[in-house]
Symmetry: C2
Subunit: 339 residues, 2 copies
């Protein structure tokens, strides 16, 4: 395993100084064009690869972007996550950067992880999701001036870049659809309190319920897992009677399907359900799961672009990007009740 070739080797080989070589390779106008091309050629021929760590040390920059993977992470991610990783990595590679993923095991662990990323310079920027209105992670990042983009708004929405899906609208779509089934009760299964998207979903659902004349509304704030969806649904569906369940994510809806199966009830007949985020497979359930979706690739591209702009663009307030993505309802049938 031959030792790596650095600027020094090229310089010695050509009888030049490392500084000249360095400048030539970064196309500094101060080196003579012909010298420059000689150097480039030699670098190419000798297989020179710049030492990223030396550069990082000198420049105080890591050329990495961190993505925070928030819990709960069960067997599958929301569909957008992979798209985001893929798109982000592609875009970053174009600028010589790479992608770092940090997976918190507990929500409480996240501020600590963010701190570590900033203090230990584990990355040059952070993409984080699942925001709260008062989000300690975001507060810290703003305080330190560290580049970041959030997926979800915060209290300080004017002072940082964010992208968010209009979950209030998603809640409305769900409840509007479910109201067609004329349920006796509406159950909203949303994520824990404080999480921006979950709160918005509840707001939208409540407002639509009011508008559609649904009086009996119960809100459930739970973790977004199939198990939690099942647990809640088991408690509800026993006392049957035309229940409607608006689930913020398909994982919860899958739990509802499981509960219905256990109880021998037929969704689309004894109860109506609406999901969210259009997980793979939700199209093929019985009955097909009505849900909402967003253009994942567009969201991923937006987040990537904003992150790069945070890193490379001007640092002024004007440059903050705010963008709201509208969800689209996919009415497949599970939101109705037959009889």
């Amino acid at each position: 395993m031959n030792t790596r070739v650095g600027l020094k080797h090229i310089a010695e080989h050509l009888g030049l100084d490392v500084s000249t070589v360095s400048r030539a390779l970064r196309s500094d106008p101060r080196v003579k064009p012909e010298t420059s091309s000689t150097i480039r050629e030699a670098a190419e021929r000798m297989g020179y690869r710049p030492n990223a760590m030396a550069r990082a040390l000198k420049g105080g920059t890591t050329n990495r972007v961190a993505v925070l993977l928030s819990p709960p992470q069960q067997r599958f991610a929301s569909p957008i996550f992979l798209e985001l990783l893929s798109t982000l990595d592609q875009r970053l590679r174009g600028t010589g950067r790479s992608l770092a993923v940090f997976a918190a095991q507990e929500r409480s662990e996240e501020p600590e992880i963010v701190r570590a990323i900033v203090e230990d310079r584990l990355a040059d920027g952070i993409v984080l999701g699942r925001t709260r209105l008062e989000d300690p992670r975001v507060a810290y990042l703003m305080e330190t001036g560290f580049p970041f983009v959030t997926f979800g708004r915060t209290e300080w929405e004017q002072d940082h870049s964010w992208i968010e899906i209009d979950y209030a609208h998603a809640g409305e779509l769900a409840v509007e659809a479910l109201s067609l089934a004329q349920p006796n009760a509406l159950h909203v299964l949303s994520a824990p309190e404080g999480l921006r998207f979950a709160d918005q979903y509840v707001i939208g659902a409540k407002s639509a319920a009011l508008r559609c004349g649904l009086g009996n509304v119960v809100i459930h704030r739970i973790e977004m897992t199939e198990a939690m969806g099942e647990e809640v649904a088991m408690g509800l569906l026993e006392k049957n009677g035309r229940q409607a369940l608006a689930c913020i994510q398909d994982s919860l809806a899958f739990g509802v399907y499981r509960a219905a199966a256990k109880l021998g009830l037929a969704l689309g007949k004894d109860a109506a359900v609406f999901g969210g985020q259009n997980f793979p497979g939700s199209e093929h359930t019985a009955p097909p799961l009505s849900t909402f979706s967003t253009e994942d690739s567009r969201v991923a591209r937006l987040l990537s672009d904003v992150m790069l702009q945070r890193l490379d663009g001007p640092k002024d307030q004007q440059a903050f990007t705010h963008q709201v993505i509208e969800p689209r309802a996919l009415l497949r049938g599970s939101h109705l009740m037959d009889d």
Copy 2:
């Protein structure tokens, strides 16, 4: 934003030399115990955080582990992927390392990405999946002596660490189950030729077909996307007559469901289907998708452990780990035909 505190600051503050401070903090026995504790205390008090980039430069190590994300990456990953990221990051954090993700857009791009990781020292080790028997990525990594673990065996199985799921067995499970439906024809939908797991699946399927007396077997080598599954199924299901489809991944099976819906055919009646990897939602399809699964968390733990052992353990041949994971059949109904 105050400047970061480094060894130099502590040294100056205490009137010592940086080398002493450095040694104290790495508990070198050469510094006097009391000096050592004074230094530690000062470091703590002053909020010292070691500069990862300087360490990296000095040590020639990046403290990062790369995970290669192979195409096709559509809207969702195989369920194991997230589990892997999460587990790996957790384990790595324990050793002061972090996780880098590289997402190839095309399969052809992968060798190049691996090269870049090694040559540019983007990481200290690589985890990669979707191996081929003759895998140029693996060949290159072995040649360079770079630490890595593969998810899937290769031609040089004795000379590197790998973990793999027994896809031959998975193929057998699928065909054995489907044979119960006594189909007129068996179609095996596997991933492109050359990919180890896909080839093994076909081998297992063929062998089971022979054993079960299924004569009419057609092999389809396609990308694992819902769209491809649908396309193939559209071509097959028209000429109806008790077809059985063994799909290497649920995504393909989902495509089959879609095709059946379009053609007005009922799976579980007009045709039988078997999936793979137990995607979320597959339990709730109509009919419930029979598939196979593996203990994702165990696989993730194994891969993580082996990677860490490659990095920190002895470098001898003896230390290579080889591990085969057996899939488990989940018989839910779609593998049968009613009449």
